[in-house]
């Protein structure tokens, strides 16, 4: 997992003096270099590799074998790109991603926005670990939502696709109310500070000409902050990769595939390995 790419800050938030933060317990400084290009250095002066993508600075403590993933849909010039900012959460970085993949909690945690009782059923959907891309994908996910996006006026059945392209990043594609046929792209980029503490950087690429940038940011912050108090109270704090006390149901197929994929690769930073 040390060779994977991780987000460590917003490109728009870079300063010359820089910001000190942690990546997997290693102190690092993220700053703008003399030319304005981002630099990430460790406490002992080592320069780390950099990718600038999706509004964020990405780095790695190891030697990444492949480039950071891409989101071709997000390159469409008419999309609004939204830097949502950062929220610190006392939870495993893997739990933050796993919660993002879960649909069943919508009516209870995001009541009257992403879900509402009695519309709690998660219909059958497809999950696959795509060997070629080495990514987890869930497709044909459908859910009734009272207000699926800032641009949605009334309740609609929303279709989703979920994608996990790296251990602590997830991309969600969802029906775009103003543009049928296109997908809104909503991402959760997680910076692992320790095994039980993370900085979460949500990011979006949407088709929405009418809503102000501030409203878009607030909508996503509202949603994520509703998750935060839940995430901080999950037990055990680290994500169990083996079945034990937690009993998955049909609605948890994506979570099961994600855990299986993590285990296959030995992506265990923030994971609980001994079944409880």
């Amino acid at each position: 997992m040390i060779d994977a790419w991780y987000p460590v800050g917003l490109i728009s938030g870079l300063t010359r003096e820089g910001r000190e933060t942690l990546l997997m317990e290693q102190p690092i400084t993220v700053r703008a270099g003399k030319t304005g290009k981002p630099e990430v250095v460790t406490a002992d002066g080592r320069s780390l590799p950099i990718v600038e993508r999706f509004g964020h600075v990405w780095t790695s403590l190891g030697t990444p074998e492949k480039d950071l993933f891409t989101i071709p849909e997000a390159d469409h010039p008419e999309r609004v790109l939204v830097d949502v900012g950062v929220v610190r959460v006392k939870c495993s970085p893997l739990r933050a991603v796993e919660n993002f993949l879960d649909i069943a909690h919508f009516p209870f945690v995001h009541t009257d926005i992403l879900g509402a009782e009695p519309h709690t059923e998660v219909e059958k959907y497809d999950v696959k670990i795509r060997e070629e891309e080495d990514e987890v994908w869930a497709t044909k996910v459908k859910f009734f939502q009272p207000q699926a996006a800032k641009s949605a006026e009334e309740g609609i059945t929303t279709e989703y696709m979920y994608r996990v392209p790296s251990p602590t990043s997830s991309v969600l594609y969802k029906t775009c109310p103003p543009r049928p046929g296109e997908w809104d792209v909503i991402c959760l980029f997680v910076q692992p500070l320790t095994e039980t503490l993370c900085d979460v950087w949500p990011w979006m690429a949407l088709f929405d000409e009418d809503t102000s940038m501030t409203d878009l940011i607030h909508f996503q912050q509202l949603i994520f902050l509703q998750d935060r108090s839940i995430l901080e109270n999950q037990i055990p704090a680290r994500l169990p990769l083996d079945p034990g006390m937690e009993t998955p149901t049909r609605a948890d197929l994506t979570s099961i595939a994600y855990r299986r994929w993590l285990k296959q690769h030995g992506y265990t930073y923030g994971a609980e390995l001994v079944a409880q």
Binding site: V84, S212, T214, I217, H218, Q221, Q226, R228, S229
Partner: protein, 219 residues
Amino acid sequence: MILYDYILSPSCYKVRLMAALIGAPLELRPVDFHPGKEHLGEDLLALNPAGSIPILVDGDLILSESAAMLAYLAGQYAPDWLGEETATSRAMVQQWLAFAHRLTAALGGARLVEMLHGQGDLEALQTAGIAALRELEAALFKRRLDGGTWLVGESITIADVACFPYVALAPDGSISLDPYPSIRLWMRALRGQAGFVEMPGIHRRHELAPDPLTPAEGA
């Protein structure tokens, strides 16, 4: 009436909550506080040189203190929420409005450090926050012994609304509310008020499931 608002700000939520509880009309103008720092931009500094939010604008009146906003909303739409018209009652309401500043500084400060990369001495903020919570717990416990639910008098006042948000969000700053039963009962009563609205981190009150030992009606 326009409220310059940020969805994650407990001080802004105080005003939204107050308006919702008494049915006052409020037009929201979202401010990109994080990550945009819009409150420190030219336009908003012209409105409020302190560079803070919320800001409430009603015609020529500009308010930048949330306690003043609660008093203004209550004065306009629900004068009962200002408390009884006795010297003691008025003074106690003022006392709690001032106390709410301590909650904001300590509990709010800890929350900013823990959640949004704020600066500050976390341990000192948490210590001050816990001291304030213990004081509130003692006061509410005494009120309960005397048969009261609210901070001042027989009914809910702006004092309760002023103190509620930062207390309810204390866990965001890693301060548990488990040791304070009277505070939890008081919060429960407030969350049960008609018109109550939530904010992220403060959930609505769920209806209690039927007691499994009580036979269902008509069974």
